[in-house]
């Protein structure tokens, strides 16, 4: 706890105080706080009856900043056998509060606006424990129940500290365990920061113009912008056509202006599905998912995809055009 290092950003440290309260390691302490609150409410009638003994707000604030107050509080939950850790945290807290008071009263007050409520309650509680130990026992009982609520509140409090500035929970010599979610988000932040091109090419989805389908007569479909799409995918038209025919189980021919005439009725959506399959199978690189690839005929009649992005090379299954021809024949055989 190096005070001099933290001094420049008091608000952060203030926030971190709340972190100190609420990180996993200090759950007990947090529980204790909440429990006290709850017990104050639960045993409200007793609290009311003791109303004169509960101190005014200003007093509570004073007590909260007063380190001597802490030990008094400790005594109440000590029965739970958790006092050791609590003591430690408490000491930390009191030290910090002293720092805060000595340094900046103004922002301290502002910060305490959020905090003093619990603190006051705590104070109330401590007073009460001095007076009757019954409330303390109730508190101990309710600890478990209130624990859940407290946990729900935790994440909000934990989001303190600026990662880039290295404050709050990200302080260099911070010894608190940082939660997994925070670490994960930090990792991805850093990753995207350090390699901006990485993120752009990785997340950018590959786009092709939608296929234009027209009906020719009743039984044929014209696929209008095949050359366009092929150019975009950097694949030969023959390859794409043969894949289309194999998948759709039909045949067809190319009309003028690069249009493809497919036998059978197909909707744009259906063609799109097939094209999507084609892209997954023959265009995108399986390693880095980029579409910046090239299809080459390698040795012994195998097709290989070379990725320009990551340099990987993989073989792809040949389109079984022979089989689709077989299917076509069978269909012809059946229909006459």
């Amino acid at each position: 706890m190096d005070a001099s290092e933290e001094r420049p950003d008091t608000p952060d440290r203030k926030q971190r105080k709340s972190v100190v309260f609420d990180t996993e390691a200090v759950v007990v302490e947090g529980d204790g706080t909440v429990t006290k609150m709850a017990s104050a409410e639960a045993a409200q009638d007793s609290a009311q009856s003791h109303a004169p003994s509960t101190p005014p707000l200003s007093d509570a604030l004073g007590a909260f900043t007063n380190p001597n107050e802490a030990p008094v509080e400790e005594q109440a939950p000590a029965e739970d056998g958790l006092d050791l850790s609590m003591m430690k945290k408490k000491k930390k807290k009191s030290k910090k509060t002293e720092d805060a008071d000595g340094e900046a009263a103004a922002d301290g007050a502002a910060e305490e606006g959020g905090l003093d409520l619990t603190m006051k309650k705590k104070k109330k509680k401590s007073k009460k424990t001095e007076e009757d130990e019954l409330a303390a026992k109730i508190a101990a009982l309710e600890m478990g129940e209130e624990g859940a609520e407290e946990k729900a509140d935790e994440p909000k409090e934990e989001q303190t500290g600026d990662m880039e500035k290295g404050t709050g929970i990200w302080t260099h010599d911070e010894t608190k365990p940082v939660s997994y979610d925070l670490l994960l988000s930090r990792f991805f932040n850093l990753l995207s920061q350090k390699n901006p091109d990485h993120a752009s090419s990785g997340s950018k989805n590959y786009k092709i113009p939608p296929p234009q389908c027209m009906r020719e007569g009743n039984k044929k479909t014209i696929f209008g912008n095949l050359p366009d799409i092929c150019k975009r995918m950097k694949r030969s038209e023959e390859h794409v056509t043969s894949y289309l025919f194999a998948e759709l189980g039909t045949s067809g021919s190319t009309a003028g202006a690069g249009q493809l005439v497919i036998k059978g009725r197909f909707q744009q959506k259906q063609i799109e599905n097939v094209l999507r399959k084609y892209i997954i199978e023959y265009v995108t690189c399986k390693t880095c998912r980029s579409a910046d690839t090239e299809l080459n005929k390698g040795e012994n009649r195998l097709y290989f995809i070379n990725c320009h992005h990551c340099g990987s090379r993989r073989s792809v299954t040949a389109i079984k055009t022979g089989f689709s021809a077989q299917v076509g024949k069978r269909r012809k055989m059946r229909t006459g």
Binding site: L248, T250, V274, R301, G322, F323, Q326, R334
Partner: protein, 116 residues
Amino acid sequence: MSIENLKTYDPFADAEADVDAVQLGGKKEDYVHIRIQQRNGRKTLTTVQGLPPKFDRKKILSVIRKKFACNGTVVADENMGEVIQLQGDQRKSMQEFLVGKQGLELDPKIIKIHGF
């Protein structure tokens, strides 16, 4: 004497198997292909090709016909072996049948659905 460390899982086993399958090309009939073909009008045919030889196609067909409420035949093709042919678009139900507990319990990975 064996060194435990050397007996690790081979991360490339799958990849190599894959490459093998690719290199063997059409010779290795380990995929079950489910295809669809358009007939006249809105009518379609579903073909199931490459079923493992341990299954009796006729029996499968008789079950399927009842189950999917469609007719079908077993077509013997000289290249593709026996192919089950069903009336209508039965790709989805066929896939479920091939994978499911009630059906053949095949590995979903070896089933390829073609068509739109």
